[in-house]
């Protein structure tokens, strides 16, 4: 395992080209094209039914695609059966084999590859050490906690040193605290092993935490691909802007040159790109000062979130803006009914065409 961590240390590049998957009248995947770099941690993020699992299933060979092709390291794999694709996979419900103990579960992929029993068990033990459960080899899966099952499933998926690891909502069944702890561990394991990871989640926080790049999907299509920062700061579409984090979305009305009129808010000195119909403003970049101004509002709601306080304010022209402020010593808090003014910085506005 140590050798694997240092020696192999290279994932495979995966290319999806023009994948299309139709179930009856449902289009599960449409024009799905994607290039995943070697050793990259890529996350497919999208609402339920957006085709994330379908994309993974196509790569794993569980479904026959309607059209399109997939290559691993430039080699087309469409003709290869699942068991020859050499892909590691962690399922949402772990899918440990209930009749085998932990060590035999982890040794399973090695046994299938013809590794003798003793050697397979030794390597399985090394993988178990890696996920920090060295003492658990003799337990049956039903004797493990959710987090332990998760780690065993991970060990089983990487023990044969696959160059691509697929994870379909691997933390979906865990509670929030455990999920956050496991996110850090997964990231750490991946750095040690160096394999390419394609990760599926519909939790945007998880995607932002783990990924090198995020693919936002909806209705079987790729909407945007980018680093977490790009996706967060520069969403291309209204859907992405609304799906990731909280955003104020305002219709844009054409104003004078060099002026953007945000409906229900007011005019801002910003150049409106051609075709822009929406303006997105993150709550945390929006600053509010007590008092009156050109864009003034009344606080209608105060939500305490621990380290930050989120406010809702109704502008005099009708729109409601959400903004958040850190709780700093001496920082002024706004009360419901208080008057605030927004000095909106044009650089914080993201204009969206659709």
């Amino acid at each position: 395992m140590q050798q694997a961590a240092q020696g192999l240390a290279k994932g495979a590049a995966v290319v999806f080209r023009g994948l299309r998957q139709v179930y009856g009248t449902t289009v599960a995947l449409e024009e799905f094209s994607l290039e995943v770099g070697a050793g990259e941690f890529l996350t497919l993020l999208g609402p339920s039914g957006s085709g994330k699992t379908t994309a993974l299933n196509a790569l794993a060979g569980f479904i026959e695609m309607t059209s399109g092709h997939i290559a691993i390291d430039g080699v087309p794999i469409s003709a290869l059966p699942t068991e020859k694709r050499n892909i590691g996979m962690v399922f949402q419900n772990y899918s440990l084999f209930p009749h085998l103990d932990v060590l035999d579960n982890i040794a399973f992929p090695l046994r299938m590859r013809g590794v003798p029993r003793r050697a397979a068990r030794e390597r399985a033990q090394a993988a178990l050490d890696l996920v920090r459960l060295p003492e658990y080899g003799r337990r049956m899966p039903h004797q493990l906690s959710g987090g332990q099952k998760q780690r065993v499933a991970f060990a089983r998926a990487i023990v044969f040193e696959p160059r691509v690891l697929l994870m379909d909502e691997p933390l979906g069944a865990l509670d929030l605290k455990l999920r956050e702890a496991m996110q850090l561990e997964i990231k750490q394991f991946q750095r040690q092993i160096g394999c390419t990871v394609i990760y599926v989640t519909h939790d945007q926080g998880e995607a932002l935490t783990l990924s090198d790049r995020i693919v936002v999907m909806d209705k079987g299509r790729v909407l945007q691909v980018g680093t977490p920062k790009e996706i967060y700061d520069r969403p291309h579409t209204r859907f992405v802007a609304e799906f990731i984090g909280v955003n104020n979305l305002l219709p844009v009305a054409g104003g004078a040159a060099g002026e953007a009129v945000l409906e229900g808010v007011g005019a801002v000195a910003a150049a409106v790109p051609a075709g822009a119909r929406w303006a997105a403003l993150r709550p945390e970049v929006l600053r509010a000062a007590p008092g009156e101004g050109p864009i003034a509002a009344t606080i209608t709601d105060v939500i305490f979130l621990g380290d930050v306080v989120r406010y809702a304010a109704r502008c005099d022209r009708g729109a409601t803006l959400v903004f958040s402020q850190r709780r700093e010593p001496g920082g002024s808090a706004h009360a419901i009914g208080a008057r605030v003014a927004f000095p909106i910085d044009p650089a914080d506005i993201v204009f969206l065409a659709e």
Binding site: A60, T82, E83, M89, F97, P98, H99, M112, M140, H142
Partner: protein, 260 residues
């Protein structure tokens, strides 16, 4: 489903086996020539009689032979048929399922008559393999019902997991699916075995001179009645209770492992 059928089996067992047991055990232990209750003198005389009498021993051995043979045939055919019915996507799956389960519903006399006609035509009367086949027909519904319902409740992502980890489809079935089906297969073979072991009517029609244990008991009832019958019956009860206990143990273990 397995649980339900085992429950039904249990209720029937209680009604038809355990209740008479109360009478049978003391009767079998009598020292007298006749069936008497309560016995005046306790002895194992009729148990000895059972093992000394060649016709009893021969009938028992034949019953075991036919029972095991019929169970093996029903188990293999029934499991394969279940896989085809549950996993396949060919037309007529439901029809095949109905046909395989039919012997459980069709009155046994009719089935016996049909088999008798076929056996006469192909000169199969008085033939042990043919008798095994006839019993397998009766045993098959239990296997098909139990195994196909277990297969339906099986989480196929386990098979997918095995596939992606390097197992061919056949290997994945043997490595992952079959262990899950194990307890159901065991329970259904138990039911299949006793379906054959108990079977009297069809056997009377098609066996010719062959005497299975039920036939032996039946002829005994026609001719003379001594407590050997009670001794044989008591031993049968003990064997079936042990079998059911083992089946229940495996079923519970599966429930623990795979969840309810």
């Amino acid at each position: 489903m397995t649980r339900f059928l085992l429950g039904v089996y249990f209720a029937i067992a209680v009604a038809f086996l355990v209740m008479p047991l109360v009478l049978l055990v003391p009767i079998s232990l009598t020292d007298s020539q006749f069936l008497e209750f309560p016995p005046r003198q306790i002895s194992l005389r009729w148990y000895r009689e059972f093992f000394v009498d060649e016709s009893w021993v021969g009938a028992t051995l034949l019953s075991f032979k036919v029972g095991i043979g019929a169970t093996a045939v029903a188990l293999v055919v029934g499991t394969l048929a279940s896989v085809a019915i549950v996993r396949g996507s060919f037309p007529g799956r439901r029809l095949i399922h109905a046909l395989l389960v039919a012997p459980l519903i069709i009155p046994t006399v009719i089935l016996a008559l049909a088999l008798f006609i076929v056996f006469l035509r192909w000169k199969l009367v008085d033939n042990v393999p043919a008798l095994i086949f006839a019993h397998a027909v009766v045993a098959l519904p239990y296997v098909v019902l139990i195994v196909s319902s277990a297969l339906r409740s099986f989480d196929t992502t386990l098979e997918r997991a095995a596939r992606v980890l390097g197992a061919s489809p056949v290997r994945a079935f043997f490595a992952v699916t079959l262990p899950y089906l194990g307890p159901s297969m065991f329970a259904s073979s138990l039911l299949a075995f006793f379906a054959s072991f108990d079977e009297l009517i069809i056997t009377l029609f098609v066996s010719g001179g062959l005497q299975t244990l039920p036939v032996r008991i039946w002829t005994d009832l026609m001719l003379r009645l001594d407590p050997t019958v009670a001794a044989a019956a008591t031993m049968l009860i003990v064997v079936s209770v042990i079998g059911m206990a083992i089946a229940e143990y495996f079923r519970q273990r599966n429930v623990r492992r795979y969840g309810g």
